[in-house]
Every structure is written in structure tokens, then in C-alpha cells.
Symmetry: C2
Subunit: 222 residues, 2 copies
DNA sequence: TAGTGGTCTAGACCACCGG
DNA sequence: CGGTGGTCTAGACCACTAT
């Protein structure tokens, strides 16, 4: 039934900006329950095709947006599922005042002292991902006691501090000398950088810069 | 109610891999309808926290995946919404046999002849995105008659050939001489490349390589 | 094949927000 | 304020798949 509703709407050839009938009317037309229409329309809304507002009604989006979902697995699982042997090496672990850029991204005050962790994840012994992470010990004080030589901050946080939301920023950059050294690549090589900041409700937990070794492909789908 | 169910599950401190009670039992425990539980669990499943299988039951995922949604607007809208003036220039338009890589990605036979379009999108007169596109005229024959000097293939396709699904592949690459020339950057500069292949049901419509000018940031959120 | 999640119905009430 | 979408209930049947 939901498929039929989807088909009807798409076949109805509504133009961008057009207003659709109210759910109740569509339900009557198609001889089905309103809840079913509601669910079907919710789907179309989720996929970026229409916009719904109480009282305002349902409209076809003027600029239909292509909406994809991006899965970011735990680094260890990602490597293992690609058939590689996972390796991990802690590079540094310090506590210090956060630089401006990080404070801004996490929405912290100037006084904030954070835990900074640099680590390298390897696949079959070859550098796979270099991570530069800042952790807010106000939210996750236990991490100060964790032996990060044994378990990566990535893993510990995922298992112990479930986030409620996060933001991603994906860029391409030229590797600087230090980064290139750790990744074992030429200075200036193009690498994919994924920056992720995660939150528990409104408290920032961690902000991490993941520098991927050359050849990495980030996949997404509808 | 749904929020309460979410909270209960999260507070229940289930470990990765644990099996949750059946929907019906949860509903009884919380004294609500099973449909409500079903909806709440669906949400958790969508966000990558649990896995559900008929008969198999509901389990907490062993490797909770961070799932983000990525919006890819029409290039023109993206530039305009950032406050820029949109410009567009067609570079080339040819019909030819598709190279192997493209055929493979679109799942086409060797014989397939495609329309190839190269175009530059500009923001305030500066190169913003260089697109290298292949279109399948079997699915969208009308595009052969479209004046691509006036409307970009990007825009025409979005308005006239609504896809049913697509796949994305995001990489960082060093710009080759030709690309660098069009984007007005130095040879070898790191650029973000987004490859997208779209389909109507099981027929491939188009496969496009979008090469973003340096400094471009792709954003995603939970 | 039996047990689980997935979908649907008919009805009710609520929450938001435009006129 | 009234009209719209959002959520919930109680019940039914269906679809998939683990055992």
C-alpha cells in the first residue's frame, strides 16, 4: 500500500513547489487508513522529496535534495571486514588547553583543558588512519584512567559513552610533513580528512580529525 | 512515549550483542501498544543502534555504526544559498562508447554509447565544481535534444528524471593538469571528488564525477 | 512450521502554527 | 482559533526466517 502511495505521488507529476492534498483526502481517494498515508508521506519527507508542516500542509520541495546515508563503522571493524589484520599504535597522549579551532568546534570556553590523543590505526601493518583526537574530560572523566596503549580512544568512547548526535566535515587536504611521516606517504599527498564532533545532549564529548591513507573511499547510498 | 521507550532501552544498559525482549513484551511492560514499540524500535534500527530480524528478534548491534545523513543539493542552489552568484559553462558534449570504468560502475554492456558532458559551475565567477558526466540515452533520450549551454545536465536530470536510488563514492585526489587548468589551481592540488551514479529502478541514468575546488567542505549530521 | 517483526485499519487525541 | 500533520491505541493479518 505504501508503495502504491509513493507511486501515485510520483506519477501524479506534481511540480516542485506544488501543494499536495491533505493526508485525510489522499487516504479517502486511495481507500486506505490515514495512518498509512502518514507513514508513506513521512518516508518521502525523510528522503528529501517533500516538506511537511502542521497546518501548512505538504509541499513538493522546490529543490529536491539528494539525501544519502553514510555509515561510519568502528575503525577496527572496518579494517577487519575488509579482510585486513587490525593494528593500533598510540603516538601521544597529553592534557592541555585546547586550541581555538577545537574550542570553537566543540563550543567550549577558553579555560577548557582537554585530553589530546594521537594514534595510528593500521591494516596488515600498513598505516590506514591517523587520528588526532580531543576529549572533554568533564563529560568522560573515566578516560583519564584508561590505558590508551591497549584500547583506542575511538573504541573506548563508542563502548562507554554513547553519543546522542554528531556532526561530520569531510575535506581533501595535502598531507603536511608530520602527517605524511606517520602515514608513510610523500609530503603533500592528497588525503581525505573526516572531522567528527560528537555530543551527549548538549555537552561535547570529543572532536576527532581522521586522516585517511591515500586510496581510501568513503561510500554512501540512498 | 517513543522517547520513553528509547530512554528505557538506552538506560537498560544492554551490551553489544544482547537480545532485547520481543516488541509485544516491551509493550506490555511499558503498558503501551505494540505499534508504538515497533515504531520506536524502527527508529533505533534506522539510526544503526540495533538490528531486527523476523523470527530472529531484536539485538543490540555488536559494532554500533555512526550513521549520518548527507544532503547533496542542486549545485546552483548550493552556491546561491551560500550567497554566491551562480555561473555555468559547458566545456564539451560528445557521444561515444563509455570507458570500462564507467560501464562497470553503471553495469552496462560493452556496446553502450553514452552522452558525455563536461561542465564547470562557478560561484561569483570563480570555479566551484568541475563535472564530468556520462548519461545513458536509453533511459533519458530527451536529453539529446536539450541545449546544455543553457541548462546544466545536473539541473535537467533532477527536474525531469527523478531517480529511485543512487550511490556515492567520496575520495581525495591530486588534480591532474587538465582538471587543475579548468579549476584554476596548481597542478597536483588536493581536491575532493564525489562520484555519484543514479538509477531509475534497475536502469542506470547517469554517473558523474564532481571535482570540487579546494576548500570545499562536505557536511553531514546525525 | 512456529515465532518474530512489518504493515495495515479505524478511531482518537494532541501539538504546532498559519491566517 | 482552526486546520493540518504527529502520535497513540487495540486489534488483525501478513512475510520472513530461524529452528
Amino acid at each position: 500500500m505504501r508503495d502504491r502511495i509513493h507511486a501515485q505521488i510520483l506519477a501524479g507529476r506534481y511540480e516542485p513547489g506544488d501543494k499536495l492534498p491533505r493526508d485525510a483526502d489522499i487516504a479517502e481517494d486511495l481507500n486506505c487508513a490515514r495512518a498509512t498515508v502518514q507513514r508513506a508521506m513521512q518516508d518521502l519527507s525523510d528522503s528529501g522529496l517533500i516538506e511537511r508542516r502542521r497546518k501548512g500542509g505538504t509541499h513538493v520541495r522546490r529543490d529536491p535534495v539528494a539525501r544519502a546515508t553514510l555509515d561510519i563503522p568502528l575503525t577496527r571493524r572496518e579494517i577487519e571486514e575488509a579482510g585486513g589484520t587490525y593494528g593500533y599504535r598510540l603516538i601521544s597522549r597529553t592534557q592541555r588547553a585546547a586550541p581555538r579551532a577545537i574550542r570553537q568546534r566543540m563550543g567550549l570556553s577558553e579555560a577548557a583543558r582537554l585530553l589530546r590523543v594521537e594514534a595510528l590505526h593500521l591494516s596488515d601493518g600498513r598505516p590506514f588512519l591517523l587520528e588526532d583526537r580531543w576529549v572533554n574530560p568533564e563529560v568522560a572523566p573515566e578516560i583519564l584512567e584508561v590505558d590508551l596503549d591497549v584500547i583506542s580512544a575511538n573504541e573506548w568512547l563508542v563502548l562507554n559513552k554513547p553519543y546522542t548526535r554528531f556532526g561530520l566535515e569531510i575535506t581533501a587536504e595535502a598531507a603536511d610533513a608530520r602527517t605524511a611521516g606517520h602515514l608513510g606517504i610523500g609530503d603533500g599527498t592528497a588525503i581525505l580528512v573526516v572531522e567528527r564532533t560528537t555530543w551527549i545532549d548538549d555537552s561535547p564529548i570529543t572532536s576527532v580529525r581522521a586522516m585517511m591513507a591515500p586510496g581510501y573511499r568513503l561510500l554512501a547510498e540512498t
